[in-house]
Symmetry: C2
Subunit: 208 residues, 2 copies
């Protein structure tokens, strides 16, 4: 019942509503009702509806940074020297991508924030760039460097590592977007994902 709890619940309920209907379609009164208070009380915690939206982004950035540190340790410097790929066999790719997808789908904050970004991506060039960077470019670049390293070490058949990254990553992104709008697809999506990874490995595994 303390301040922090209500303040946090406002963020969570607002994100839940924003991610379904978009910022404009959600009223402050709806957010307040979801929290269990009246709309005017909400203004004791945030000075405006926009401030709630902004706070969601700040919190998401913190979570993203923490997650990046934990799961994607080498995301930004994957291509420095190749040393960080020691011990990463091609067979590990399956586990890695499955873990990433499951987390992206099941973490409420992450999946809701992604849907919110999907709904607001055309608002400003900054949001558009953030979307592409976070949900495409970084993942793509990471895999490109990963494949480049695996090819160099002879664990994958030689080929254009960037094109390989597109082939590998894109189906995952598309399946994620399908599950975002149709959660009932999840089981089917995981099967498609499995077949996709199997096919990818069959094509590229066993270099030299």
């Amino acid at each position: 019942m303390e301040t922090g709890s209500t303040k946090q619940r406002i963020l969570e309920e607002a994100l839940g509503l924003f991610s379904l209907k978009g910022f404009d379609a959600v009223s402050v009164e709806q957010i307040a009702a979801a929290v269990g208070i009246k709309a005017p009380s909400l203004y004791k915690h945030y000075k405006s509806k926009q401030a709630i939206f902004d706070a969601i982004f700040v919190q998401m950035q913190h979570r993203y940074d923490a997650q990046a540190a934990a799961m994607e340790l080498h995301l930004s410097n994957a291509g420095c020297d190749g040393e960080q790929f020691a011990g990463i066999a091609a067979a590990d790719l399956t586990r890695r991508v499955q873990a990433l997808v499951r987390f992206s789908l099941h973490d409420e904050f992450v999946s809701r924030f992604r849907r919110l970004m999907t709904l607001e991506q055309f608002r400003t060039p900054e949001l558009a760039a953030l979307y592409t960077q976070r949900y495409v470019t970084r993942i793509l670049s990471y895999h490109e460097e990963l494949f480049r390293g695996l090819i160099a070490r002879g664990e994958l058949r030689g080929a254009d590592p960037r094109a390989m990254a597109w082939q590998y990553v894109s189906p995952v992104l598309v399946l994620l977007s399908i599950c975002d709008r149709q959660p009932e697809w999840e089981d089917a999506a995981m099967k498609e994902l499995e077949a996709h990874v199997r096919q990818f490995q069959a094509v590229y595994e066993g270099g030299k």
Copy 2:
């Protein structure tokens, strides 16, 4: 200046605004201003803001059907007997996908409608299903059957045609979505697309 012209201009201006900001964020007055009339005059052409939205969908369905008849002649019955693939060499795939992407990006009605769908996809299960069906499933199924036929005819290396379709189609969809939010990416996207098709052909071309 006749009725039909104004009525059509309302649809086009409304679609342009909806596709940028979403249905809720656009006011009837904004639409009217874009057309060059006052808001009340607009109600002589459509009985409500929602009616404009619905009319956009009806018109898009007509365009989609016409386009499907012209460009994707065999989309819905591609797998019937394999006969319709006569004369389709693997090399034709590049031209086909490039034509599809260019059309999807440059046709104002098609690209704006796709952005509108992106913004409204979470509204109802029907819109979600329509989005997946139109922008993923149909394209995917078409290519799956196409590859199945090409493999049977020995023009592509034998493999899982569905997984091949995911690998082939997904990068195209992701690049499209990037260009939708960041049009300045188009040149880069076409280059990525070219490399993607080249890589796909290098991997799968030459069956038997």
